[in-house]
């Protein structure tokens, strides 16, 4: 197989795989993220869904941008199908690891937001009870 054919095949495999991976991870993360948002914003659906959607758009932009930025494959090292498989494995594998890290980072942000929201509720309750006591 010619070098350019292998390169084209590599791009035609790499692109759909990374796009589908990003779509799947994003859909899963932000489908469940709605519940976190509703909890953080204490049931206010409008702001919860809006924030969720904004973070989802940012997630898509960031990860698809990164996937496309690392698309370049050096054709000199693509001689046979083995090389094709190795190059693709390295690229897709590396991107999967990165996607996993982004997923955990987003989860961390959700949990932190929830913790801060709970802290705010406790502080407000304490403030209210102190107000009643002083009266």
């Amino acid at each position: 197989m010619k070098n350019t054919d292998l390169l084209l095949a590599a791009y035609f495999i790499y692109l759909p795989v990374v796009i589908l991976l990003t779509l799947y991870v994003s859909k899963t993360l932000f489908k469940n993220g709605k519940l976190f948002m509703l909890d953080i914003f204490r049931g206010k659906e409008t702001i919860a869904l809006a924030t969720n959607k904004l973070f989802e758009v940012g997630f898509y932009l960031l990860n698809l941008g990164f996937a496309l930025l690392i698309i370049e494959i050096n054709g000199r090292f693509l001689i046979n199908y083995t090389d094709l498989l190795e190059v693709l494995s390295r690229k897709v594998g590396g991107f999967s690891i990165y996607l996993g890290i982004m997923l955990f980072f987003n989860l961390f942000l959700f949990f932190r937001g929830r913790k801060m929201s709970k802290q705010n509720i406790v502080e407000k309750e304490n403030f209210a009870t102190e107000g009643i006591k002083t009266q």
Binding site: L15, F41, T46, I47, G65, I71
Partner: protein
């Protein structure tokens, strides 16, 4: 000569993406900003509009700017690499701006 057609192709393929992302951010941004400025609907709309205008300026500017790098496209491979790399750079830049906007709005209204 082919460069001209590729430039047009790039611009046309970018346009729906630019528009859709802009609309998604505009609609949800309205609700997001309203949470921080509930007493003044006008401020919400104006901030949101300014963000949308800024977004379009940056994106259209960057799209046109990337065309300057489209000098010698000798093969399909070069086209694919250049096209997707330009798209990647733009989306990554947009992501950074997007998160910065959210952070600034949150921090500004948290302080006040």
């Amino acid at each position: 000569m082919y460069n001209f057609y590729f430039d047009i192709l790039f611009l046309f393929s970018m346009s729906p993406i630019i528009y859709l992302v802009g609309q998604a951010c505009y609609k949800n941004g309205n609700d997001f900003i309203e949470y921080f400025t509930p007493e003044n609907q006008n401020i919400t709309k104006q901030i949101n509009k300014f963000l949308l205008i800024g977004y379009y300026l940056i994106v259209v500017g960057f799209t046109a700017f990337t065309l300057t790098f489209w000098n010698d496209i000798s093969s399909l491979i070069d086209l694919i690499i250049l096209y997707y790399k330009s798209l990647g750079m733009m989306t990554l830049g947009l992501a950074i701006l997007h998160y910065m906007n959210i952070l600034f709005i949150y921090l500004y209204y948290k302080k006040s």
